[in-house]
């Protein structure tokens, strides 16, 4: 306890240097935590689950996936044809309609990325939304919106950021000029909003509205069938209870003669996400293997520099401590203790600060990677901050601490005698 007091007093000795070192540590820990949180979330998304799996069926050879709507009934059944075949627990289809709120002008403020799906699946198949507790206001608001979609085909649920970007509110009407479905412009009534998070930049409409609009386009006199007519289905989602069921369903689909032109592939959501993130491979690699290590190494150097200066200034004091009977291990512990305390507390404070600021101050970290747009700092990041601060302090102070404990008393006090 007394040694801890001594450590604290030594930290306080040069307050400016300690504060600057602490601030340097905090800034670098912020960088580490931000990068780490993004990587951790992406890792979570690409990690295979063992139960409650979601499988995605897409076109085998082409990206983006384009399949005919005729595939829908058999795919949603998991190609279960014979008795004993495994059927998915749940399913939904996705069609992508991208458009702009202003004709001929696509920008961040006008673009809308709309998923056409079965409205009732929003709360059962959409990641994170399916886990909303029944009593949560977000879920209740979504339930109302879904109810509205069932009675109003033109209903639209929009992510918070997108809604803000296009400068609209719930209850207003919006016209979207089709880009992926050229010549098919749709009008929507905005009936709800997604809770803050992963779906901030997405919108969802009733798939039947889109398909009815395509049919209407095709029926219009003088029109040739719309090019998207036979290739508007992007993804089919299947929920299966476990890996074994997934393998069986995937085999059933692969063996089905119905899916030959185009061929399809079935993969888990995790591997699908990983495949999708391949486009961002260089960015993620840079974050994981360059930015993170660079921040950690810089942090070590900052601490090493501060502790080295402190040790150099106090060589005589360490010698005096040795004269008083302090052993090298004591001095090692004193120096390492200073670094650990400084690094650990700065790291912890930084982690708590960034957790509160990002999650509650800025409503998440806006960093669009594919369909992930906003990242949050997980609670465990607080311990990462403490760990990173303490570990880098420990590594950075090892050499200075070793030098301090090897101080030779006779040399320090050597003078003309």
């Amino acid at each position: 306890m007394k040694l801890l007091v001594l450590v604290l007093k030594n930290i306080r000795r040069n307050l400016l240097r300690s504060v600057l070192t602490g601030l340097g540590t905090m800034v670098l820990v912020v960088v580490v935590i931000l990068v780490w949180s993004i990587l951790w979330y992406l890792d979570q998304q690409t990690r295979e689950k063992t139960s409650n799996l979601k499988a995605i069926v897409t076109e085998r050879w082409q990206m983006p996936s384009r399949m005919p709507l005729a595939y829908v009934p058999e795919l949603r059944a998991g190609s279960a044809r014979r008795p004993g075949d495994v059927r998915p627990q749940d399913s939904m289809t996705w069609q992508f309609y991208v458009g702009s709120t202003e004709p001929g002008r696509l920008s961040r403020d006008t673009a809308l990325f709309i998923v056409g799906t079965q409205p009732e699946k929003v709360l059962t198949m959409f990641d994170e939304l399916d886990a909303l507790p029944p009593e949560s206001p977000d879920r209740q608001q979504l339930e109302k919106a879904i109810q509205a979609m069932k009675t109003n085909r033109q209903a639209l649920i929009v992510g918070r950021e997108r809604l803000e970007a296009i400068n609209k509110r719930v209850g207003e009407r919006v016209k979207v000029y089709g880009l992926t479905f050229k010549g098919i412009d749709l009008e929507f009534d905005i009936v709800g909003v997604f809770p803050d998070g992963r779906w901030n930049n997405l919108a969802v409409m009733d798939w039947e509205y889109l398909n009815a609009a395509v049919e209407a386009y095709n029926r219009r006199p003088g029109n040739r069938p719309h090019p998207m007519t036979e290739r508007s289905l992007a993804i089919v989602w299947l929920k299966v209870p476990d890996m074994r069921s997934f393998t069986t369903v995937a085999t059933q689909i692969a063996n089905s003669p119905s899916f030959t032109n185009p061929q399809v592939k079935t993969e888990t959501l995790a591997s699908g996400t990983a495949a999708f993130l391949e486009a961002f491979r260089d960015l993620i690699w840079g974050m994981r293997y360059f930015l993170m290590p660079a921040a950690v190494v810089t942090l070590c150097l900052v601490i090493a520099n501060a502790i080295s200066l402190s040790v150099r200034e106090r060589r005589k004091e360490f010698a005096v401590l040795k004269v008083l009977g302090f052993r090298p291990a004591h001095i090692l512990a004193l120096v390492l203790g200073e670094a650990l305390l400084l690094g650990g507390t700065s790291g912890l404070a930084s982690a708590i600060g960034v957790y509160l600021a990002i999650n509650y101050g800025f409503d998440g970290l806006k960093f669009p990677i594919g369909f992930f747009s906003t990242f949050y700092i997980p609670e465990r990041a607080i311990w990462w901050g403490l760990g990173v601060g303490a570990a880098t302090a420990l590594i950075g102070s090892l050499i200075p601490a070793w030098i301090a404990c090897r101080v030779r008393v006779a040399e320090i006090f050597a003078r003309v005698g």
Partner: protein
């Protein structure tokens, strides 16, 4: 509760001899034994104090050589030095700059090792100990007083004095009692919460002495303790050292350039070119007889 402060023998010594002012330092202390009331005028500067252990050496150096290699050249600091210091003696080591005084002090404190020879302190050959063993041994056996005090600036006088006690298995209350006692002994009880920067040079040196005394070591090594002080403060520090040696039977080895400081010691030795010499004859000094008391009364 066991007190580190081994004052049990002190009342015996007090009964037999006239005591200096140091007695007054002890009188206010409670629970340390029964001290007779001694008036200051009873103090006479006689040197016939009985030794706590007059049959053994406190320090014994046998055939000490110390040299350094500098640029491939051997630099001899101490040359075949022999020295015996009886228990309870106040010895002054003098010599010109570069004569090896501080090196000798470092060897006795176990802060450095001889190139050849043996250093014995209270029946232990410290030149054969490891660094860790020496550190442990120093805590209990050596008190070191530096010329420039070397107090830790971030700690108060109390905390500086307490430092060596942190290494011993003592409770907080034992440490507190011990620290207060030595601070009172050196006359700084009212300054115990002051930092070194708030104390004068003489007061800082008193804290240094208190720190050296706090573990009750048998041997006090003082390296130019008055070298950085004005005449008055230096005199006070020397008075204190003399009183400590007389009342507590501490063996004190004082390294100094100052003849007035050396004159306060019971014996003065001179170092010249790494050898102990008699200053006048430049011959090796006559050996100290086994019974220091007899040698002093001769």
């Amino acid at each position: 509760m066991r007190s580190l402060w081994r004052l049990e023998a002190l009342p015996i010594a007090i009964e037999n001899v006239s005591m200096p002012r140091a007695v007054r330092y002890f009188l206010p202390l409670e629970g340390l034994g029964h001290f007779p009331t001694v008036e200051p005028e009873m103090w006479s500067p006689s040197r016939d104090l009985p030794m706590a252990n007059s049959n053994s050496w406190c320090v014994e150096l046998r055939g000490i050589h110390k040299y350094f290699m500098r640029g491939g050249e051997r630099l001899d600091i101490l040359n075949g030095l022999n020295l015996e210091v009886p228990e309870g003696e106040f010895l002054a080591l003098m010599g010109p700059s570069g004569s090896g005084k501080t090196t000798l002090l470092n060897l006795i404190a176990g802060l450095d090792k001889p190139s050849e020879g043996e250093v014995w302190v209270r029946d232990k050959c410290i030149s054969a100990m490891s660094e860790t063993q020496l550190a442990r041994w120093r805590t209990r056996n050596i008190g070191f007083v530096f010329q420039f005090y070397h107090l830790l600036p971030v700690l108060t006088a109390y905390e500086n004095v307490e430092l060596p006690l942190l290494l011993l298995p003592l409770s907080a209350s034992q440490r507190r009692q011990q620290v207060k006692m030595v601070l009172e002994l050196v006359g700084l009880k009212d300054r115990m919460h002051h930092r070194p920067g708030q104390l004068s040079g003489g007061q800082q040196q008193r804290v240094g002495i208190a720190r050296a005394l706090v573990t009750d070591p048998a041997l006090i090594l003082a390296d130019e303790p008055t070298g950085d002080l004005d005449a008055r403060s230096a005199e006070e520090i020397l008075d204190l050292l003399v009183e400590l040696q007389r009342s507590l039977q501490k063996t004190i080895i004082l390294v100094t350039h100052d003849p007035r400081a050396a004159a306060r010691a019971e014996r003065i030795l001179h170092l010249d070119k790494g050898r102990l010499v008699d200053r006048l004859s430049m011959e090796p000094p006559a050996p100290v007889r086994r019974s220091p008391k007899v040698s002093r009364t001769e």
